[in-house]
Amino acid sequence: MVHIKRLQEDGADIIAIVGEIDASSSIELDLAIAKSVGEGFKKIIVDCQALEYISSAGLGVFMSYIEELKDKGISFVLFGMKERVLNTFSILGLADLLNIRETKQEAKKLADELSV
């Protein structure tokens, strides 16, 4: 259903989501973000280029971390969403609560700016 890959680039933890996030697979996303936060990364970038679908279970995972990321001073940026995936965030107004960029380059730049 979903594969989550993590790699580190220039001090940022990049979490790549491949596949679909629904009620059966949102736990995988939750665990990946929890690990990244637990390992002390100050910049977390989520690569959504291969994210084909997300339901509210996945959106809820992102929502549930907003406060903790803020408290810990972690910059958190998503990038590369397909239009239909971005639409899901927009329907709920979540696009305004999260940092979303089109390209990896823009995402890294924003993560750098936010972590200063």
């Binding site: 679909e20 679908y53 509210s56 329907i91």
Partner: protein, 136 residues
């Protein structure tokens, strides 16, 4: 035109539900974005039912019927025999409360209400029928 799909209440079956809806809407002149929103709303309804009314018991079944009433109006029915939960009676939480309380739930119902035009509940032949209508 009508389509029907029956599945056991396992969250692993949600992918099949989404594929069934996408296939059924193909060739009916629904945009990708609208199809995506409809698939999302029905995924939310099915996962809610599986989790809350059937405790993810794969031996419990729910059925989905799709009726295309006119060129632009689609009626989706989800039929089951669990406890009925009328989302019209559920006050969905505010977004800032969800963020503050670090809650992961409550977003699905907001999505369904935003996407669908009408949500009705009926009893038919001893079953619960949730009927969702969408005009595209």
């Amino acid at each position: 035109m009508s389509y029907q799909y029956k599945i056991g209440c396992s969250l692993n079956n949600l992918k099949g539900v989404r594929e069934f809806i996408r296939k059924s809407l193909e060739g009916h002149d629904v945009s990708d974005l609208e199809t995506g929103a409809i698939v999302l709303a029905l995924d939310e309804m099915c996962s809610n039912l599986m989790i809350h009314a059937h405790h993810c018991n794969p031996d419990h079944f729910i059925a989905m019927n799709i009726h295309i009433e006119s060129k632009r109006t689609f009626v989706f029915e989800i039929v089951d025999d669990g406890l009925m939960f009328d989302i019209n009676l559920f006050q969905e939480p505010q977004l800032d409360n969800l963020v503050h309380e670090k809650r992961k739930g409550g977003l699905g119902i907001r999505l369904v209400k935003t996407i669908m035009d009408k949500i009705e509940y009926l009893h038919e032949g001893g079953k619960n029928v949730c009927r969702l209508t969408k005009t595209v």
